[in-house]
């Protein structure tokens, strides 16, 4: 009963390096989301997807790219990491039907950019 799994859980990068965060869900959810959580700012939506092969920008998309090649996976990429991207990143997924919300969250990825 995995739910939403995020890989890796921790990572330290140097400025300018690239990396990809992986989110996998086993609940057959149509929607998937990437958020970042920073102290005093709550969760802010980076990108989201309403189905396989589709993506859309959220509130803070700059510096990130995403892909949803398979329904169960949602990848978040940092092409050239910056210290301002130091944060905790959360992936979430949900059904299309609002009555069957809520969003289910992973345990987060703690990313530090030096």
């Amino acid at each position: 009963n995995a739910g939403v799994t995020q890989t890796p859980k921790f990572r330290v990068l140097k400025t300018g390096q690239s990396m990809t965060l992986l989110c996998a869900q086993d609940m057959n959810h149509e929607y998937m989301y990437w958020y970042r959580q920073d102290p005093g700012m709550g969760l802010r939506l980076i990108h989201y997807s309403v189905g396989e092969g589709t993506t859309a920008k959220g509130e803070v998309p700059d510096g990130y790219n995403v892909s949803r090649l398979k329904k169960q996976n949602f990848l978040l990429g940092l092409e050239s990491a910056a210290p301002s991207q130091t944060s905790v990143y959360f992936c979430a997924s949900s059904y299309f039907d609002r009555d069957n919300q809520p969003q289910h969250f992973g345990d987060g990825t703690r990313l530090s950019i030096l």
């Binding site: 939403v4 929607y31 989301y33 958020y35 005093g40 700012m41 709550g42 969760l43 802010r44 939506l45 989201y48 309403v50 959220g58 959360f90 979430a92 609002r98 009555d99 919300q101 809520p102 969003q103 969250f105 992973g106 345990d107 987060g108």
Partner: protein
């Protein structure tokens, strides 16, 4: 556009005391409202949600919230808190014309023995 305001960044309370965490929202259309809880080093879990119907919503762990349309509020309450309720609580809003949740900045509930 929608927005959510959680005025209290921290709420300290003694065990077995009642607590209220405040949430106000702004929206020009009908809203759906949620409270999530985040325990240390974990993701968010849904406490309760208001979609329609009764304005008093009961959730898990003894929490409840009341939707007040005239005051645009959705305050979370618990009559008697436990140490284990220590966590961060987030209020969130969505509407019919969006697939997204807008989160408040969170309230850290600290329960003392």
């Amino acid at each position: 556009a929608q927005s959510v305001t959680q005025l209290d960044s921290q709420v300290p309370v003694f065990e077995e005391a009642p607590v209220e965490l405040r949430c106000n929202y702004s929206s020009s259309v009908s809203v759906y409202l949620f409270w999530y809880v985040q325990y240390p080093n974990q993701g968010l879990q849904l406490l309760l949600k208001y979609l329609s119907g009764s304005t008093l919503v009961k959730g898990i762990n003894g929490f409840e919230a009341e939707f007040n349309k005239s005051q645009t509020s959705f305050h979370l309450r618990k009559p008697s808190v436990h140490i284990s309720d220590t966590a961060e609580y987030f209020c969130a809003v969505s509407t019919d014309n969006t697939d997204k949740l807008i989160f408040g900045t969170g309230t850290r509930l600290q329960v003392f023995p």
